[in-house]
Symmetry: C2
């Protein structure tokens, strides 16, 4: 982690210096009348976006929440590896890793064929496949994650905090207004209950959950099915003789239904999803008046011969599975040709079964996709057209997700006899589970070619960094200090692009090699995207951050002769940045060139978006293609030739 | 990390529930008149002790500091691997790992024989030898570490905070008083400057630095030499063409002297120790009026042909090397036969050259040694005789340290010509550096046999866990959740003893095996130290915490049949603890039995003190020896037979 570039500042390095003129947070200070971005809702979607936008003092962000404070428990608890990779960029992955339960193995239990009234372990699967991600799949209380995002916001230069007790009631967009075209009606849900006031915003993002008012205001509707299957969920402190209570378990009894066990943070707590009765077509789950005692009783029936002795029910809820999706994630109607002003994200535009643990993860991935695009627009780096890509990219992903999730929930709820039979060696749900691991890990997301995603013409140069999918980290060593680390961890949630230049055989970075030529061209050529899209008063890596990776080990490289763009002077004091040059690991953790299928002979460039997705793979001398790619959506704000 | 054992509690899991009746921290609240332990000084020694004692609501601890607040910069910056292992027990090693600079390699530079006016890199050494510790050697601002300890104190059940602006002026011990025998005179250094008041204490610990008033009050004196060598130290933000500026470097020029470069946290800051002139016998360093400009000029001369362009001097100081030691670390005069009431720790009783980076580390190790002993006495677990072992153990270590440090400083300051010549292949300072790595890592500490350290009769059962040295962690897998982790990380700074039972060949923990027999004996036998030294109303592992390690991989073990002492019910709710059973790693990180020389055939017990030192190695059936060991210093407070 890098800090002090603008001079020494004591204390917690995560706490950034406040920007001048941050909003007065006195409880009696009035709400702002105009903001750049208004976010509705402090769930995972809203907080992830707020944490991202809070990094940019040039954007006035407001985040309103109907409730009086952060939740304390309940709701989702699964964080997949992809989301952990994103948390790394926000700086709190280590905290989460330390506090959370790690899903290392998933165990499968079914009715014992010899005694169908009893369940029996039929197998186990390693939950995160080797080298699928450097991150674990973890489980933790959603409220705690909210707090970690709130800390990021509060520590950011803008010292952003939510405005609690304000609900978005409605909004209108004036398509002709250039400035603050969205007028939002807020309703006080606190002391002055029911009173309303308006705020004008340049953009509004509805992260206000499944009953989203923002979605309704822009005419969105959730389509899909209700599965007519009630599930109960409860977080409990309990003792049991069930031996796998500290492993994620899918338990399928002969005739009493299914349970999903999710051990949780702290070593004692765990969650159970218990399958309750099927609902008839017109029945709502609330009509059935399930109690927590019903749930505990069902669990004990399903887990026989084992039993659970519940000491404290921390939280519980009854659920109806539904997979639903709106037609679009912004306010641009089909056929309309304009840039969006209002967006929806998370449960506001797609809902899932809790069982595959996707809801919370996808919600955050939505707004991580949107955040840097909004920042680019406000920073004057890109035209507002860029914002059209949000709905385009995320809707397709949500569609795939809802479809897969649907199928998965069907398999999980299928009568066990049936699912156990038709798959030869392994019960169908075990097979399906394994096949879905990449998907449930959040690693299968792939954006289609667009302005922001290049064509796979040169994909062969880096077969393990698929264009459109997330950048897949691997171990490297930072040359200046021989630090072993993950290459992907250089990416912070700072709205910047990374350009990873992998050196070809023999290239050691010294003058004359392909890396030196590329660095020089990027630093000096009039056609270089670094020069074209970076303002004269900005750090040279403010938009596009070049990093080089060499095939030699650190002790075989000479740091002296590295190109100047790889040791740029930055910040108020013009201090040299020594964290741009990497090489392969020398201590047996693996060779990144092999692990990610990088062409050893010629090397290549991998262009990575601010949200960690691979945008392009190009040869090291693909200068024109690189210029053209960035010119496709970035404005020419830089120094002329 | 385990939490919620007494029920769910939202928020940061590091923040413990406050104990009833914690002290009123209102700024206008009076100081307490009597306390159990009064600590003087909030340097590393004082804060480490305060963080330890803060965990025990039964101990009223007060920590006073002459200065008005925590320091913000400067002083020491090196944390060796041993101290990092201790930070792990306090819960903030991960934070430090993330924020700090890691010393991966140390580079050596000397005058180039072909051009003696220029320096040249002559070699590099991996700074932390493979498997010497699972922790890195790191560099970070001392003020930040203080803050991390302050956070631990504030989050502890006692919500302990320092009383700033109070200095210990003097103290007297009434040897006849049973209760609160130490009367301490405090002097106000704040608004009411010079006013005094007294506090009575059961124990006083002087962590008040090299000019300690506590030491003086008990008649202690620092003996030793001043090396008559002035060194300058400065923390700077600077650019340089010196290529190893992000590696720890020992630079020895032909005729301009020596420099030590220590890169620091954040990627830009670094520290330089610059050798300045020799002092004559009666000269004090202050007389020489060195300026920071002198230091920068000296650095530029020593580093030629490279140069440094300083942008900001964050902190600087001029130093005189001294290695000094008092005769004893408590108030018991030679020949007196009584238990101590006053202790000194850290710089108050031994000082070192900054160059080997020991001062801060040893200071914390002092009070980590003392903390659990005080806790044992206040918890009624041990007689106050136990406190005699503090001076006995730590004085000998300090003596060894001062001697080694002395030798090291001499080598480092020796004229380079001389040191370069007499060592064949490698210059003498490089050799000495390598030979000293275990020592500078803090890993060479070895306590002699005593009541608290067993005789090495059975050392052969665990050759890699030497009795008297710190428990050497290694990778294991926790069976209940297949979690890969470090065995040593089960140790928290909670004043408890760990008993690691390594299973012999074939033992899978089921009834009949040696582990099951041991667990049963510990849980039920009248002679068991667990029964004898644990009160009926305490958790069964409150004093001695049994953990088992098996030779099979997790999937070959059956958790069901494990002995009940390895799945004990704990806390207010009687919840089962599932974090007691371990086995070898199945993913290639190494086999703990091989790595630590554990007898595969018979297994063994390794007894580990609350401060992480190996107290004993015994055969798995060494019941009598185990009973006798604990009976040597723990009181029989437990359930009779
Ligand atoms: C009761 C419950 C239980 C759940 N249990 C599980 C589970 O067991 N497993 C699982 O994977 N997922 C579960 N989920 C779903 C999971 O929590 C969501 O997928 C995830 O939180 C989606 O994040 P989001 O930010 O899109 O929406 P949400 O987390 O729903 O956040 C929406 C926020 O907007 C606020 N809000 C709503 N309307 C307005 C308004 N008009 N103005 C201002 N603020 C508004 C809400 O108070 C809320 O804070 C559960 C959800 C709920 C509600
Ligand atoms: C100026 C300076 C520079 C240093 N630089 C380095 C370095 O570069 N490298 C290195 O390894 N080590 C350095 N050290 C030494 C290192 O900081 C110490 O070894 C380490 O801090 C020892 O910890 P301690 O807790 O024993 O004592 P200290 O850190 O000295 O803490 C003593 C505390 O007690 C307080 N105090 C003093 N008297 C009283 C009193 N009567 N009543 C109440 N409080 C009192 C002091 O204000 C201070 O906060 C430096 C020390 C100093 C003072």
């Amino acid at each position: 982690m890098q800090y002090y570039v603008d001079g020494f500042r004591g204390g917690d390095p995560d706490r950034k210096t406040a920007a001048p003129g941050v909003r007065d947070r006195d409880p009696f200070a009035p709400l702002p009348e105009k903001v750049d971005v208004l976010i509705a809702g402090t769930g995972p979607a809203g907080l992830c976006l707020a944490a991202q936008l809070a990094q940019f003092p040039e954007i006035e962000t407001m985040i309103v929440e109907r409730d009086p404070r952060n939740i304390t428990k309940g709701k989702a608890d699964g964080i997949n590896t992809r989301t952990m990779e994103m948390f790394q960029a926000f700086g709190f992955a280590d905290t989460v890793k330390r506090e959370s339960y790690w899903v290392n193995q998933t165990a499968f239990w079914m009715a014992d064929p010899e005694n169908p009234a009893h369940i029996k372990r039929i197998g186990r699967v390693q939950d995160v496949a080797d080298d699928s991600s450097e991150m674990p799949h973890i489980l933790i209380n959603q409220a705690r994650l909210h707090q970690l995002f709130l800390d990021v916001m509060e520590n950011a230069p803008t010292r952003l905090q939510p405005d609690y007790n304000w609900a978005v009631r409605d909004l209108v967009v004036d398509p002709d207004a250039e400035e603050y075209p969205v007028t939002v009606t807020l309703e006080d849900t606190g002391v002055d209950w029911g009173q309303t006031r308006t705020v004008r915003a340049n953009y509004v993002v509805g992260c206000d959950g499944a009953r989203s008012n923002v979605r309704k205001a822009i005419g969105g509707e959730l389509h899909g099915d209700a599965a007519h299957q009630a599930w109960g969920v409860m977080d409990i402190l309990a003792n049991t003789d069930f031996p796998d209570v500290r492993q994620k378990c899918l338990i399928s009894s002969a005739s009493e239904g299914n349970i999903l066990i999710l051990p949780r943070e702290g070593g004692y707590l765990f969650r159970m999803y218990v399958e309750l009765d099927k609902l008839s077509a017109n029945e709502r789950v609330a009509d059935r008046k399930f109690t927590r005692e019903d749930m505990i009783a069902a669990a004990n029936r399903i887990m026989a011969p084992y039993s659970i002795d519940v000491k404290e029910v921390v939280w519980w809820s009854i659920y109806e599975i539904g997979h639903r999706l709106t037609d679009r994630f912004d306010d641009v109607a089909p056929g309309e040709d304009r840039n969006p002003r209002v967006f929806t994200a998370g449960d506001a535009c797609h809902t899932h079964s809790p069982k595959a643990g996707q809801g919370m993860n996808v919600s955050m991935q939505d707004t991580f996709n949107l955040g840097w695009k909004l920042a680019h627009v406000f920073q004057g780096r890109a035209d507002a057209r860029l914002l059209r890509s949000y709905s385009a990219e995320r809707w397709l992903e949500a569609k795939r997700l809802v479809d897969t999730d649907h199928e998965w929930a069907r398999i999980m709820s299928a009568p066990p006899g049936q699912s156990a039979l038709d798959a030869g060696d392994e019960p169908r749900f075990v097979q399906a589970f394994k096949e879905n691991l990449e998907f449930t890990g959040g690693l299968a997301v792939k954006y289609d070619p667009s302005e922001l995603i290049g064509e796979p013409t040169h994909q062969a140069f880096a077969t393990g960094q698929e264009i459109g999918r997330r950048f897949h980290s691997a171990p490297v060593v930072r040359v200046a200090d021989a630090m072993q680390m993950q290459l992907g961890h250089v990416a912070e949630a700072d709205g910047r692009w990374r350009l990873f230049a992998f050196a070809g055989a023999g290239d050691d970075g010294q003058a004359g090699g392909a890396i030196a030529r590329l660095a020089k061209w990027l630093e000096t050529d009039a056609a270089s995207p670094v020069r074209r899209h970076t303002r004269a008063n900005e750090d040279i890596d403010a938009v596009i951050d070049l990093r080089a990776v060499f095939q030699q080990t650190f002790d075989a490289l000479s740091y002296e002769g590295m190109p100047s763009l790889l040791k740029p002077c930055k910040g108020r004091l013009g201090l040299q940045d020594h964290e741009k040059v990497f090489c392969v690991d020398h201590k047996g953790l693996g060779d990144i060139f092999d692990m990610r299928g990088i062409d050893r002979d010629q090397g290549c460039m991998v262009v990575v978006r601010p949200d960690q997705y691979v945008a392009h793979v190009l040869p090291l001398d693909g200068y024109d293609a690189l210029s053209a790619f960035f010119a496709g959506f970035l404005l020419p704000v830089g120094q002329a030739g």
